[in-house]
Point group: C2
Chain length 215, copies 2
DNA sequence: TAAAATGTACTAACTAGTGAGTATGTCAAG
DNA sequence: CTTGACATACTCACTAGTTAGTACATTTTA
């Protein structure tokens, strides 16, 4: 009578899937694709292993879903940047600062990308969603560089993809190689001081690069 | 009678170990630690799985040996640099060029380091050999920077470890993230032109950074 | 002839994936 | 408004195949 609806089940497919993805992101980014355990994911979830296969078909299917979710997040962030009304140098500094902080606060994303590179980006290639990422960031950078040249703030004509790579490389490396670098050089890369100094360094390096040379 | 010594065995422990390490490097750098298969390594070897355990004890032991071997190689390279008789800017450009080419021609090393970072450098920490790597490169950079400041070629006082990181990040990222970056931006990072342009870019960026500001 | 090096064949444990059935929500018909 | 039919969401227990690691016998070397 009273105990009738005690252990009642609630159907909530969206929450179930989201829950699985959340846990799987953590598992895969910590242990890699091969190292990640479906059983471990299932256990940390409020649901069961069977549901993982119900929704995602296979371990790889789940991994791919995790990857797509991670990329969808960053795409949104990049699209939200409003740099056209800032002067070129300030625009670029803002962009660098955003990239820097994104990587710093999303180590899971960084790790997933590292893992995907170990797999030669094989899953990414198979995912339309990720492959067709509209890389608005490149247009943004191109326009900032053009304005900089036009206004005489920048003297060097640089390829926007190359500039993006110069920025990304540093921001990404700081996070992706935090452990080996930290171990070898006995330096904690997450200290606030170091963080600020590095953020300033990459910005200054990029700006000074664009202000040197004429090529 | 005549067939007695036909299939005779030759004991050659050194060659056996070297053979295993060679194959294991390839296997682990391609599939990661969890993804690498001991049986797969054994098969590609001229010896058997039994010998892997005889010499390296466990899969992790083998992985650690592979990692130590990879680091030993780069240490030698760095130690061989003779930059003290070059003018500061040229010395730095030589160093950058060497780092760039090292990463470019040793993707296995780059991948192993990536993998080790996924494991939070746990194995590296346990290895005296790697942890106690004498990082001569930092002293080399420090001395070049000092000479540059003294001679007025460089105006900015920079931390040598930071400078090393700026250089390493770019060189490493180009290789480590080749696949995802290449996929998203549809660019082949191994084309000779791209390679040359990138090598020039990181050198110019570092030099111009050191020549800007006074901090 | 003893110690080091090697080959063969095996096992225990793990791990991705599944078979088969149950619960829940919703919607149409009575 | 309530019954029952259907689709979606879910549970539990199981399995087939893989994989790290080993027992034991044998050969080579010094």
């Amino acid at each position: 009578m009273a105990a009738k609806r005690q252990n009642t089940r609630k159907n909530d497919p969206q929450r179930t899937q989201e829950d699985i993805l959340e846990v799987a992101t953590e598992e895969f980014s910590t242990h890699g694709l091969a190292g990640g355990r479906v059983d471990a994911i299932a256990e940390k979830t409020r649901t069961s292993k069977r549901m993982i296969y119900y929704y995602f078909g296979s371990k790889e299917g789940l991994y791919l879903a995790v990857l797509e979710r991670a990329y969808r997040k960053i795409r949104t962030l990049e699209a939200d940047l409003q740099l056209s009304n800032l002067p070129p140098e300030q625009a670029l500094r803002t962009l660098i600062s955003t990239t820097f902080e994104h990587d710093e606060t999303n180590p899971d994303f960084v790790r997933l990308v590292s893992i995907e590179n170990i797999h030669h980006a094989a899953h990414m290639l198979r995912s339309d969603a990720i492959r067709d990422l509209n890389v608005s960031i490149i247009e943004t950078i191109a326009s900032v560089l053009d304005r900089g040249i036009a206004g005489g703030v920048f003297t060097r004509r640089a390829d926007p993809i190359d500039v993006h790579m110069l920025i990304s490389a540093f921001c990404f490396f700081r996070v992706s190689n935090r452990y080996t670098f930290g171990t070898i050089f006995r330096r904690d890369l997450s200290e606030p001081e170091t963080l600020q100094r590095h953020k300033g360094m990459i910005a200054d390096a990029v700006i000074s690069y664009l202000q040197s040379g004429t090529a």
